[in-house]
């Protein structure tokens, strides 16, 4: 067995534990080196796994060597390795940015960051639905603590909503899992996929009830309309490095939807008859709600939060088409939108600290100290999010538009996507021109975006031109990943 597969789960756990032990518990400096170094090593592991998974069949890792449907298995395919790489890039940027002072708000910042990475990586790798629940809980309990890291009224208030909603979500998830187990007798994804065709009508009805609950749970994680109301206050109140890492959290929900509906249950009749239509319409409505949120936002962090909602809507509606082309477009757009919103969260913090009391609110403020660096970063990120050439958003949106099949779907999806792009262009140009050009008052002595902060920002901002520069190989790779995702279920668990 290939033991590299389990390392993205074990490694962050080890790093997190090490930060609590001597000599790291005495010195913040050592913890910072360990945390950033740990993230870089995680990135190396993820890239190695991505190289291994390219053009090769999916690999199963059986924990404790227990046979497939009974033991816990991890599944490495191209989709999961892509998500691992994305998480690791965010981890490097986030730990680097936090090392410039944000981690002084509490002792456990770096430990929590790596516990969270463990949960996220576990959720991406697992091939067992119950294990997915366990890793959700691991990433959630770390995110609860990261959310209130640094303290303050706004964070506490957002955390109460976030924690209670997610606890209810976890309870619903368990109801769904019990129903699935009662109906099919298995929780292993591949096994379940193979058994769906043999289920009787009563069992299928139970399974559909479970699927309805799963939709609610994953919808809550992904912030799909009408379950997105927690996101605005939660994402705009957290510290910037955490917000950048949280950009992947909604994508965990999207990934779970993708795994369950595009892979495990793709052959079940009810998915096409009602699950995909539900996702389609809620996805389109999520785009509308997100865009309204962006237009109504009064500061840049709120704008970034609602941009997350817009991208979630775009992805969920695309997911519901269920074709290999749509999964391909979804994967590319997912990588682009995650990196772009994460960059915007970091940028919002830097801008806020250079404008005196005005912060990142869209009002007149002091002149920005580093207009060239922050201004060009803002232009790249904003153009990329809106979808203007030559940046990755353009290629991502082009792929999305092309993936929609002929017919009525085009009318809805094209108008939603293009309309939202236009409105985002208006909102972001307004934000940019106010933040950078409407200046008043004397120059300020401000927090400079040098060193660690600048590196983290540039790392995320550069991702956009790089994604469009290497769009050819990357889209081919995403296509192979999409095809692999949809054929994996035909392989029996024993054969892998």
């Amino acid at each position: 067995m290939n033991h590299l597969i389990i390392l993205p789960i074990i490694w962050p756990l080890l790093v997190a534990l090490l930060t609590l032990l001597p000599p790291f518990d005495r010195s913040l400096l050592l913890r910072r080196y360990l945390s950033v170094g740990g993230s870089v090593v995680l990135l190396v592991f993820s890239v190695l796994l991505a190289i291994q998974s390219t053009n090769s069949p999916a690999q199963l890792y059986q924990l404790g060597n227990w046979a497939a449907p009974f033991g816990i298995s991890l599944l490495l395919d191209q989709v999961s390795s892509l998500m691992l790489c994305l998480t690791a890039v965010l981890a490097v940027a986030s730990s680097l940015y936090a090392s410039s002072g944000e981690d002084e708000g509490g002792f456990f910042f770096h430990s929590l960051l790596h516990f969270q990475l463990m949960g996220i990586n576990g959720a991406f790798l697992t091939a067992d639905l119950f294990n997915l629940f366990v890793f959700f809980e691991v990433l959630l309990i770390a995110s609860y603590s990261l959310l209130i890291h640094g303290g303050g009224k706004a964070k506490t208030k957002a955390a109460v909503h976030y924690v209670i909603l997610n606890l209810v979500g976890s309870a619903l998830f368990l109801f769904a899992l019990a129903l699935i187990y009662g109906a099919s007798g298995t929780l292993n994804m591949l096994d379940l996929g193979a058994k769906v065709a043999t289920l009787s009508d009563t069992q299928l009805q139970l399974l559909q009830a479970a699927v309805a609950l799963l939709l609610v749970v994953f919808g809550l994680k992904a912030a799909v309309m009408p379950l997105h109301f927690w996101l605005g206050s939660a994402y705009s109140s957290v510290t910037p490095a955490v917000a950048a890492l949280f950009a992947i959290m909604t994508k965990v929900g999207i990934y779970s939807l993708l795994r369950v509906f595009a892979m495990v249950l793709q052959d079940a009749g009810f998915v096409a008859s009602w699950v995909f239509p539900v996702l389609w319409w809620t996805g389109l409505l999520t785009i509308v709600m997100g865009v309204l949120g962006v237009l109504a936002s009064e500061d840049l962090r709120k704008i970034a939060s609602y941009l997350v909602v817009v991208s979630v809507g775009t992805l969920v509606a695309m997911l519901s088409l269920g074709t290999p082309e749509s999964v391909q477009a979804l994967l590319y757009y997912l990588v682009h939108s995650t990196l772009a919103t994460a960059a915007l969260f970091l940028l919002a913090d830097l801008i806020a600290h250079q404008r005196g009391k005005a912060g990142d609110r869209l009002v007149n403020g002091r002149k920005i100290v580093q207009p060239v660096l922050l201004g060009s970063a803002f232009i790249v990120v904003a153009l990329s999010i809106v979808g203007m050439p030559p940046f990755s958003g353009f290629i991502g949106k082009l792929l999305l538009l092309q993936a929609v099949p002929q017919g009525e779907a085009i009318l809805w999806y094209w108008s939603a996507l293009l309309g939202s792009s236009l409105l985002l262009l208006i909102a972001l140009s307004r934000a940019g021109s106010i933040l950078f050009w409407q200046v008043a008052g004397a120059d300020t002595e401000a927090r400079m975006a040098g060193g660690r902060r600048g590196t983290a920002l540039v790392l995320l901002v550069l991702a956009s031109p790089l994604l469009s520069l290497f769009a050819g190989p990357l889209t081919d790779w995403c296509q192979a990943a999409a095809v692999q995702l949809q054929t994996i279920v035909n392989i029996s668990p024993g054969a892998l």
């Binding site: 366990v134 303050g152 208030k157 109460v160 909503h161 209670i164 976890s170 309870a171 187990y181």
Partner: protein, 118 residues
């Protein structure tokens, strides 16, 4: 027996939903605890309810499904930790925000302005 268990799960869930909708952190906490009791019973019954059969292989002819028991155990542990976290967070929220409403501010009643006291 199935009917009895189903009624118990239903009643627990009803009480849980009622308590969660009270929107005060303590009531919500009790509600979430009840919901996790309901969930645990539900998972436990997902393997089929049997009386008088062994939990250990080879002890009896028939044996109970061991997997739901393992799942329930995991769910109980996780639920316990999450409730503990919520208790601490609620105390913190009471201190930070000055009241125990989940929205952080009391809804203003029509005649008496309760919100003013906080």
């Amino acid at each position: 027996m199935e009917l009895l268990v189903a009624i118990i799960i239903g009643v627990l869930t009803c009480c849980a939903v009622f308590l969660i909708l009270r929107a005060r952190t303590f009531a919500v906490m009790l509600g979430l605890t009840m919901l996790s009791y309901a969930v645990n019973l539900f998972i436990f019954s997902s393997g089929g309810l049997k009386i008088g059969v062994g939990a250990v292989l080879n002890a009896t002819e028939e044996y109970a499904d061991p997997l739901p028991q393992a799942l329930v155990l995991t769910a109980i542990v996780i639920g316990f930790a999450m409730t503990a976290f919520l208790v601490v967070l609620s105390i913190r929220a009471r201190a930070d925000l000055g009241n125990d409403h989940v929205d952080g501010k009391l809804p203003v009643a029509k005649n008496t302005r309760q919100g003013a006291s906080s």
